[in-house]
C-alpha cells in the first residue's frame, strides 16, 4: 500500500492545508514510510475483538442543564485576529 502524489494533494485539501509542491513531495515520502509500518496490523487475527475507542470506562456523563456565567464579550474577542461590532470576523464565504 502506498500513497500517490495526487492522494497527498487530495488529503491536504481535506485537511485545509495549502501546501507547496516541495512540501507535498516530502510528505509523500514520510507518509509512505509510516504507511509501510501500518502493514504490521493488517495481518493480525483479532478473533472478533471489539474496537476500543477510549481508555475511559465512563458512560453517559450528564451535567445539569443550567445556565452558567461565561466570558465577557471583549475577553472572548481579545485574541481574534479580526473582529467587528463585537463579533468574530470570518473570511468571506459567499461572494457578493
Amino acid at each position: 500500500m502506498a500513497i500517490s502524489l495526487d492522494e497527498v494533494r487530495h488529503v491536504a485539501k481535506l485537511a485545509r492545508l495549502d501546501l507547496d509542491e516541495p512540501e507535498i513531495m516530502s510528505l509523500q515520502t514520510e507518509l509512505n514510510a509510516l504507511i509501510g509500518h501500518f502493514s504490521d496490523i493488517q495481518a493480525v487475527d483479532f478473533g472478533g475483538v471489539d474496537p476500543k475507542l477510549h481508555a475511559s470506562n465512563l458512560t453517559n456523563v450528564w451535567a445539569e442543564d443550567v445556565p452558567r456565567s461565561s466570558f465577557k464579550r471583549e475577553l472572548a474577542l481579545k485574541n481574534a485576529p479580526m473582529s467587528k461590532a463585537g463579533l468574530f470576523l470570518v473570511p468571506m464565504i459567499i461572494e457578493d
Partner: protein, 483 residues
C-alpha cells in the same frame, strides 16, 4: 545548599518554618532562569511581576497560618496548558501571541493551593515529538550534556527540573511525553490513570490518550504535585469521579513480596545494551529486596507504535481543525474562506504537525477507515486486555522507559521513523489508560536511565508507593548533572 537545588517538599518545609520566604524562593528561581536558561532553552515565557505578586500573596497565607502543602512552591507549566494572562503557544507559530482568558483546571487548583506559576516550558510543537526539536521557537538542551536532547515532548519541563530552574513542573503525556524526557534527564515523570487529572484547559492533541502529570526530582514531589492537581472535574467529561491521588500512604509500602512482571517484548529492536545492563541491575536490586520479577510475554507490544501513529494523528487531525485563524492566532491573506483557512494553517503549523494532520486525515478518510483506524482500535482493545490480564497475576509491569539514553540533537530529526519507534515502552499505558511512572535507576554512557512501572487503572497510589521504595533503593548516592 542553595534554594534552587531543593525539592518541593524541602522548600515547603522551609517556608512553613519561616527559614525562607515565598518571595525569596520565587526570586531565586527567576534569577536562575534569567542567568542560566539561555543554555537550556527550557522556558518559552515567564512573567516575573506576576510570579512575585503570587509569592507575596502566598507569604500572606503562610503568615496567617492558612497554608496548604504547595503554598509558596513554584511550579513550571508546559506551554500547552492554559494560563490566564500568560501567553500559551504550544510552541507553535499558529498560537503566537495567544493569551488564554482562563486557567486550565490544574493551574486553577495550583493557584488555589497558593503555588506560584513560575513560567511556561518549551515542548515539541503541539506535543508532537520525542526531542523538543519540533518547537517552533527554540531547541531545548539536556542539563547532563548540552549537545543532547532532554527528550520530548515535555522536554522544557524536564530540563527545567533537572537544571534547577524549577523545583517541579507539569508536563503532558500522550504516548510517553512525560516519562521519556524524565528518563533522559534523570528526573521522575508520572502519568496518572486516564481521567484522574482534568484535561480542561490542556490544548488537545489526542483526547483519548492525553493526560497531564508531574515531572519532579523525587517520587515524593510527584505525589505531592499529583495530589494538588488531580481529582474530579465536571468540565472534563472524561474526568474520573474518584477523589484526587492521595500521598498519605506514600511511605508505607514495601518491596518485599511485590510481584513484578517484565514483558520480554520491552527489549525490542534497537535497545542499547548498556541501557539493558542498567535495567537488569535495577531488577536484580529489586529482587534482593524481596520482590519477584518474572519475565512474561505481552505479544501486542510491538504493534503499539503503529497503533499509536494511527489513533493519535486521527484524533489530532480533528482536534487541530479549530486552528483556522478566526478566534485566535495570526490570519493569512487569501481569496475567500477556504483559501484563507488553508493558508493560515500552512503558514502557522510546522512540518511535523502538518505530517500528523495529513496521516490522521488519510487514516480517517473513506476507503481507509476500516483498514487503519478501526483495526488500530482493535489492537488497542487487545493490548489493553493483555495488560489487564497480566495485572491479575502481577502488581506492576516493569520495563525500561526508553530503549536508549538521550541522543544528540539533530541525530534523529532526519529520520522520523527512528524517532517515532522510541515510544514503544510508554505507548501501552496511554492505550489502556494505565498509570505509569519513570524513575531514575542508573546510568549508561554516563547518562541517566529510567525504569518504568505501570499499574492497573486506578492503582496510582500503590504504584507511587512501589516507586518510592524503588527510588530509595536506587538513589543510594544520587548523582546530579554538573550544572
Amino acid at each position: 545548599m542553595s534554594i534552587t537545588s531543593l525539592t518541593a517538599v524541602e522548600i515547603a518545609a522551609k517556608l512553613r518554618s519561616k527559614e525562607v520566604s515565598a518571595v525569596e524562593v520565587t526570586t531565586a528561581f527567576l534569577d536562575r532562569i534569567d542567568s542560566e536558561d539561555a543554555k537550556y532553552g527550557a522556558f518559552l515565557a515567564y512573567d516575573r511581576e506576576k510570579a512575585i505578586a503570587e509569592a507575596e500573596a502566598a507569604q500572606g497565607r503562610i503568615d496567617s497560618g492558612d497554608s496548604l502543602p504547595m503554598t509558596g512552591v513554584p511550579v513550571a507549566v508546559k506551554d500547552n496548558i492554559s494560563t490566564e494572562g500568560i501567553e500559551t503557544t504550544c510552541a507553535s507559530k499558529i498560537l503566537k501571541g495567544y493569551i488564554p482568558p482562563y486557567d486550565a483546571t490544574v493551574v486553577e487548583k495550583l493557584k488555589a493551593q497558593g503555588a506560584i506559576i513560575l513560567g511556561k516550558t518549551n515542548l515539541d510543537e503541539f506535543a508532537m515529538g520525542s526531542s523538543t526539536e519540533t518547537s517552533a521557537y527554540k531547541l531545548a538542551h539536556n542539563p547532563w550534556d548540552l549537545t543532547r536532547t532532554p527528550g520530548g515532548s515535555s522536554g522544557g519541563s524536564a530540563a527545567a527540573v533537572a537544571a534547577d530552574l524549577a523545583p517541579v513542573s507539569l508536563g503532558s503525556d500522550t504516548g510517553g511525553s512525560i516519562r521519556l524526557p524524565a528518563s533522559f534527564t534523570g528526573t521522575v515523570g508520572y502519568k496518572p490513570t486516564y481521567g484522574r487529572c482534568s484535561r480542561f484547559g490542556l490544548v488537545a492533541f489526542a483526547s483519548s490518550l492525553d493526560q497531564i502529570g508531574p515531572i519532579t526530582k523525587t517520587v515524593e514531589d510527584a505525589a505531592l504535585l499529583a495530589e494538588a492537581t488531580t481529582g474530579h472535574d465536571e468540565r472534563d467529561a472524561t474526568s474520573n469521579p474518584a477523589p484526587a491521588v492521595s500521598s498519605r500512604e506514600l511511605k508505607s509500602g514495601t518491596l518485599k513480596g511485590l510481584k513484578l512482571a517484565f514483558p520480554r517484548e520491552m527489549y525490542g529492536e534497537g535497545t542499547d545494551p548498556e541501557v539493558q545492563k542498567a535495567i537488569q541491575a535495577s531488577l536484580d536490586a529489586l529482587r534482593r529486596e524481596g520482590a519477584t520479577v518474572d519475565e512474561i510475554s505481552i505479544p501486542s507490544i510491538p504493534l503499539g507504535v503503529t497503533t499509536y501513529y494511527i489513533i493519535a494523528p486521527a484524533e489530532a487531525s480533528s482536534n487541530l481543525a479549530r486552528f483556522d485563524g478566526v478566534r485566535y492566532g495570526p490570519r493569512s491573506q487569501g481569496q475567500g474562506h477556504i483559501d484563507v483557512v488553508a493558508k493560515t494553517r500552512a503558514e502557522g503549523f510546522g512540518h511535523e504537525v502538518k505530517a500528523r494532520i495529513m496521516i490522521g486525515t488519510y487514516a480517517l478518510s473513506a476507503g481507509y477507515y476500516d483498514a487503519f483506524y478501526l483495526r488500530a482500535q482493535q489492537v488497542r482493545a487487545m493490548m489493553t486486555q493483555q495488560f489487564l490480564d497480566a495485572f491479575k497475576d502481577y502488581d506492576f509491569i516493569v520495563s525500561p522507559t526508553a530503549p536508549v539514553v538521550a541522543f544528540k540533537l539533530g541525530d534523529l530529526s532526519q529520520d522520523p521513523m527512528a524517532m517515532k519507534t522510541l515510544d514503544y515502552c510508554t505507548i501501552p499505558a496511554n492505550m489502556g489508560g494505565l498509570p505509569g511512572i519513570s524513575i531514575p535507576c542508573g546510568f549508561a554512557h554516563g547518562l541517566p536511565v529510567g525504569l518504568q512501572l505501570m499499574g492497573a487503572p486506578m492503582e496510582d497510589e500503590r504504584m507511587l508507593q512501589a516507586a518510592y521504595c524503588a527510588e530509595q533503593l536506587f538513589a543510594v548516592s544520587p548523582k546530579r548533572p554538573n550544572l
